[in-house]
Amino acid sequence: MSDDMYDEEDIVLSELSDEELTQQMHDDLYDGLKEEIEEGTRILLDRDWPADKVLSDALVAGMTIVGIDFRDGILFVPEVLQAANAMKGGMAILRPLLAETGAKPVGTMVIGTVKGDIHDIGKNLVTMMMEGAGFEVTDIGINNSVEAYLEALEKYEPDILGMSALLTTTMSYMKVVIDALVERQLRHKYIVMVGGAPLNEEFGEAVGADAYCRDAADASETALRLVTEKREAASG
């Protein structure tokens, strides 16, 4: 939804220069305009932009601005949801192309709340921010057993396993899941991130997670950092 005030001239995306178009896409992401983002993505691809460049320069760069303004309290949750949704529209077009060229997407994550825990508002916000940052997130919902996590990890092979818990009676289950990964010699394959209000830094360390994140913005920043670090370590 754009304000009438700013919508006076009809913008024809295909008539814009590359630079104008990416700028416009940043604005369209900010305004949560999914169709416009899809159109912009196609135009850039038609102009022979490689998919990973469209992803980084048009989409991720735009969502970074969204992230900053969310952090600063200028954008509200429903607006960020719209923006993330627009971003997903662009991603859907890029995904097959990225796979073809072997270019890595920003990152992938499986996320769910642990067994016994149905608190999911925080998890949903984390998903929103991660998708906004360009991650492909598979949300496996609430109340997940070790088996459910393992099954999802096997199926989606994500970079990151995310677990959320809001109860002191359920948060210890994170250790059960991590121990199961260790036991099956799978721990090294995934970055494990944990969060939820009753957790803290020491708890994250104690259960053997790679990171504890205090909020959704922290989660997406930490995820980006950890995925980059892991990829650099693997290639270097």
Binding site: F70, G73, V77, P78, I121, L125, V176
Partner: protein
């Protein structure tokens, strides 16, 4: 001014110092409201909300998840069960509730003087519930332990303004998850003689609560009377989960009370508008309470409402703002129209420490809840950080405010003494009232005396160490804990209780989830 009242020797300084400084011991089991109710909504709005809630129940329905038995009970009672989605014909829930749910009930305490009546014109003030963290000025914020739990039970026992020992006054994170309920219920039964709340995190734990109560109250007594009131949250929007349903069934079958609480962070768990939120709350509460009546007609059930709004900027719960107060007022009226007791309120805030934000947010919800006519006021004392932390100093600040609620609700004394015409005549224009007979007869109890507020001169305050309210509260809770004495529990009952706990604890391995 002439004063000829006969003066008797009262024991001089020693006696007076003792009397004025002692912790108040007189028992007020609960508050009896003597003032009119304040209805925020007019008849038209109330009927419209009731109508819309019926539509929600009839058209959208409520999910009862992972509990086949519950679905069977609902079906047998005439609900339309489609998978886990349960739809109720218009008016069905209301009719079931009104046919058998008590308008009020007595929750027995192990000290009968502290029995509370929940419902009608009564208000029962209850400590905060559920925090994984505690905080105090000396040690800051940390995970709660069973020691903290005991401390808060003791403080609640000593607080004249609190009528109830509460439930999970903080979460003893140092104990195994599947056994900590034994130690929590034990603390309530041993360190306090006020009524208490039971465990709800597993049906077995609800059963253990009932069985432990039987060791102290006797088997028959528990089956025939209500000795605990427990918190069953709806998993809003429009869902009840197996954990809560399981615990609720156990309590209902033993005639123990449950509070069916839609626990709403508006904007995330309900629509962003107030009318939409209230409609959803009513629909969820109706479905949950009707379910309890299907399990056992006549089992006490309370209409609960926990209203907060989320910050649209980050999703965090907010407290002490106007919108949840409006929701609370509306829900209270709807509960009265339905004819069941109502739970809400408390000293709610999002503040991290007992600062100005904590004070004003808590005062806002506390006063609103009192005026609105809350019968069971959970979270009256200690609440910080949206329920993540239980504060020792905050607890003291809150019990001070709580003690005032009684005065607020008991109304204006319109007796001859209250009218004070004698005093007005005796003093007349231009003089002062401090020494007149009427004042002499009434001054001690005339005005609420805060245990925390400092009303001294600046210089006096400075000479006393320039302490702020939290620092003064810090001294108070320490003194209270120092002076605490256990309310005696019959040794045979105590033995039986410990024996039960030890046997049960030994019968299955510890687990931390």
């Amino acid at each position: 001014m002439s004063q000829h009242s006969p003066r008797r020797r009262s024991g001089g300084r020693k006696a007076k110092r003792a009397a004025r400084q002692q912790v108040q011991t007189e028992i007020t089991a609960f508050i009896e409201r003597k003032i009119p109710y304040f209805d925020y909504l007019d008849e038209e709005s109330l009927s419209l909300i009731e109508h819309n809630a019926d539509k929600v129940l009839e058209e959208i329905g409520i999910e009862f998840r992972d509990d086949q038995e519950a679905l069977g009970i609902l079906k047998d009672a005439g609900a339309d069960v489609d998978g886990e989605r349960v739809r109720f014909p218009s008016g069905m829930c209301r009719a079931i509730i009104q046919a058998s749910a008590p308008a009020e009930y007595t929750q027995h305490a192990r000290n009968p003087e502290r029995n509370v009546i929940i419902g009608g014109d009564r208000t029962v003030l209850v400590p905060a519930y559920g925090s994984p963290f505690v905080r105090d000025l000396d040690q800051g914020r940390r995970y709660a332990t069973i020691k903290d739990f005991e401390n808060f039970v003791k403080l609640a026992y000593l607080a004249p303004g609190l009528h109830h020992s509460g439930g999970t006054v903080c979460e003893p994170v140092d104990l195994p998850v599947n056994k900590r309920h034994f130690d929590m219920i034990y603390s309530h039964l041993r360190y306090s003689d006020k009524p208490f709340m039971g465990s709800v995190t597993h049906p077995d734990r609800a059963q253990d609560t009932v069985d432990m109560a039987k060791q102290v109250f006797g088997d028959d007594f528990v089956e025939q009377n209500t000795v605990c009131t427990s918190l069953i949250n709806a998993n809003s929007p429009m869902t009840f989960d197996a954990t809560m349903l399981g615990a609720a069934k156990v309590y209902a079958r033993h005639n123990q009370a449950t509070i069916i609480s839609p626990f709403i962070l508006a904007g995330a768990m309900s629509p962003v508008t107030l009318a939409g939120t209230v409609t959803q709350i009513l629909a969820e509460a109706l479905a949950g309470m009707a379910f309890i009546q299907m399990v056992r007609p006549g089992a006490p059930v309370v209409f609960g409402t926990f209203a907060s709004a989320v910050s649209m900027q980050n999703g965090a719960p907010t407290f002490g703002t106007a919108e949840p107060s409006i929701v609370l007022y509306a829900a209270a009226t709807l509960a009265r129209r339905l004819g069941v007791p109502f739970r809400s309120g408390g000293g709610l805030c999002a503040a991290k420490i007992p600062d100005a934000q904590a004070a004003y947010e808590s005062a806002n919800t506390l006063q609103t809840a009192a005026i609105a006519g809350v019968n069971f006021m959970l979270h009256t004392a200690g609440w910080l950080e949206g329920g993540l932390s239980m504060g020792y100093e905050k607890f003291i600040l809150d019990i001070d405010q709580a003690a005032m609620i009684k005065i607020l609700l008991e109304g204006m004394d319109m007796s001859e003494n209250g009218q004070a015409m004698d005093a007005l005549r005796a003093v007349g224009p231009g003089a002062h009232f401090l020494g007149c007979e009427h004042t002499q007869a009434n001054f001690e109890t005339a005005f609420y005396r805060s245990i925390v507020a400092d009303n001294n001169s600046f210089e006096q305050w400075q000479a006393d160490g320039s302490l702020d309210a939290a620092q003064r509260a810090n001294l108070i809770w320490k003194t209270m804990l120092n002076e605490y004495e256990e309310p005696p529990l019959e040794p045979a009952k105590h033995e039986a209780l410990l024996d039960f706990i030890n046997r049960r604890k030994a019968s299955f391995p510890d687990s931390n989830y």
